[in-house]
């Protein structure tokens, strides 16, 4: 009953959101430049991503925000096959001996729109809601979320309960391919039509001829969080999140090498992933002021029913250097264990497994970030920021499951990414 009343208030407060108040208009515009290179000196993906965020803020707990994001991706991306001492022919390109095969035609643009708002319900509670839409040439997504926030104990404690739903459609260039079929059998690629969904499921999903063509993936999310003011200087936040994904989750562009007893490739087949995934996270954030500075410590434990588990640590220290300048060094480490069905290759003499992927992102690896932000507050209405980060991913270059020729080649060349972001934000 209480919840019903609050939802009613939520609707009313949204409808009256535009009533005249002394509102601030805030803006935040940033441009990310991102590039990758592996330890074999192969350039990979480059990204340019401008973001514009406009917020109408009526009060600390009362705002409406609109955000538009544009991604432009170009470059080369690993297709899943492993390096070999012989040249490898992938129809559209040939990989050099000794190098991780990279598909040179990785190219896409993405536009995303997000609308979020936070509205008070009464003196101790408020709700946050959002709608999102994004579109790429081969992927579309629409999503919504709603969270209720309730203060307790003279606002020293805030409980957050939220949920979200997203509906995504995958519609790959070149159509879908049956899992574990050879890439050389390209004469009859399975195109995304309503008739072909069942035979080429690759792990579930429904076909629709609509605004969302392709195979469908749905995500149901929930979160429970608690924030606590420990004292005048320190905040603690703990979140538990759970999400259930159902539908098509295979990467339609990834394949796996099929090797002979000598470790040489004899074929390449399309990968297959399960059509459900249950993800869970526990994240704690600790923020404390140290004089005019502040320390931010985050720890997240992630696990899912694909067998992936990850420990992620994130440290930021906000140095305040006078009233205008600040510097925020950043360190992050994420240590990931592989998915149960991750394989560097399939063996020619063995039957196909139920699921298999050689996507390195599902393998054992560490991701380390060093970086920092510098910010300059020109005045109370204008601030400039620059953020630089170097991200390194390392994995097992010579895993025990490698055989024959695979042992002579790097199965996981280190990756190095650089990201550079310039931003300007303020109000008018």
């Amino acid at each position: 009953m209480q919840l019903k009343k609050k939802l009613g208030l939520a609707v009313c407060s949204l409808l009256t959101a535009t009533q005249s108040q002394a509102a601030d208009w805030l803006y935040d515009a940033s441009v990310l430049n991102y590039s990758e290179k592996d330890s074999q000196q192969q350039n990979r993906v480059s990204v340019v991503e401008p973001v514009l965020s406009i917020t109408k803020q009526n009060a600390v707990d009362d705002y409406v925000q609109f955000q538009v994001i544009y991604d432009s991706l170009t470059g080369a991306s690993p297709n899943g096959a492993n390096a070999s001492s012989v040249a490898q022919n992938f129809n559209r390109f040939i990989a050099r001996p000794g190098f991780t095969p990279l598909d040179p035609a990785f190219n896409d643009n993405r536009v995303a729109f997000n609308l979020n708002w936070l509205k008070p319900l009464d003196r101790t509670s408020r709700y946050q809601a959002g709608l999102s839409f994004s579109t790429e040439t081969d992927y579309k997504s629409v999503a919504g979320n709603l969270s209720l926030l309730e203060d307790f104990d003279h606002k020293r404690t805030t409980l957050t309960i939220g949920g979200a739903y997203s509906y995504d459609a995958v519609n790959p260039h070149g159509g879908f391919h049956d899992p574990f079929t050879s890439i050389y059998a390209v004469a009859t690629p399975v195109t995304p039509t309503a008739q072909t969904v069942t035979s080429a499921s690759g792990g579930g999903g429904n076909q629709e001829q609509s605004l969302f063509p392709g195979k469908i993936k749905q995500t149901f999310e929930g979160i429970v969080g608690i924030s606590r003011v420990l004292n005048r200087f320190t905040l603690l936040n703990v979140n538990y999140g759970i999400s259930y994904l159902t539908g098509y989750q295979t990467d339609p562009y990834k394949l796996i090498s099929v090797i002979d007893a000598g470790g040489f490739p004899v074929d390449y087949v399309w990968e297959k992933r399960p059509d459900t995934r249950l993800k869970q996270t526990v994240k704690t954030s600790f923020i404390t002021a140290i004089g005019k500075d502040s320390l931010h410590l985050d720890y997240r434990y992630y696990w899912d029913d694909w067998g992936v588990s990850t420990n992620t640590y994130d440290v930021k220290y906000h140095f305040s250097m006078g009233s205008h300048l600040y510097v925020v060094p950043h360190y992050r480490l994420s240590d990931q264990s592989k998915a149960d069905f991750f394989r560097i290759s399939l063996n020619q003499s063995q039957p196909d497994p139920a699921y298999a992927s050689a996507d390195y992102r599902l393998g054992d690896m560490k991701t380390t970030t060093y970086g920092g932000m510098i910010g300059y507050r020109w005045n109370s209405k204008l601030e400039f920021t620059a953020n630089i980060e170097q991200i390194t991913q390392t994995g097992n270059s010579y895993p025990v499951e490698a055989i024959g020729d695979q042992r002579n080649n790097d199965m996981f060349p280190d990756l190095k990414f650089w990201s550079l972001t310039f931003g300007v934000r303020g109000k008018w």
């Binding site: 994001i69 995504d168 929930g222 004292n231 404390t288 720890y299 640590y313």
Partner: protein
């Protein structure tokens, strides 16, 4: 599993050490009156002081790692992973 437990334990110890540097008094629970929240209201004390940069970072990690989430619900989908 044991490996992860060891790593987690070592990192927890480091985090605790970091908190120690910050000063034990900062962990001592105290009643905080509304007029004592000046420090907590500072922009750098927000859970996410720079949400746009945070969003860009999370997008990178989402596209390059198997794990994601933990900070909240929602946001748009992406075909990058």
């Amino acid at each position: 599993m044991k490996k992860y437990f060891r790593k987690t334990l070592s990192w927890l110890l480091m985090v605790i050490a970091g908190i120690g540097i910050a000063g034990c008094s900062h962990l001592q629970p105290q009643a905080v009156k509304p007029w004592q929240r000046g420090v907590l209201a500072r922009a750098d004390m927000a859970l996410t002081p720079n949400p746009v940069q945070q969003g860009l970072d999370e997008h990178i990690y989402f596209s390059k790692e198997a794990a994601s989430g933990g900070s909240g619900v929602g946001g748009g989908g992406c075909g990058c992973n």
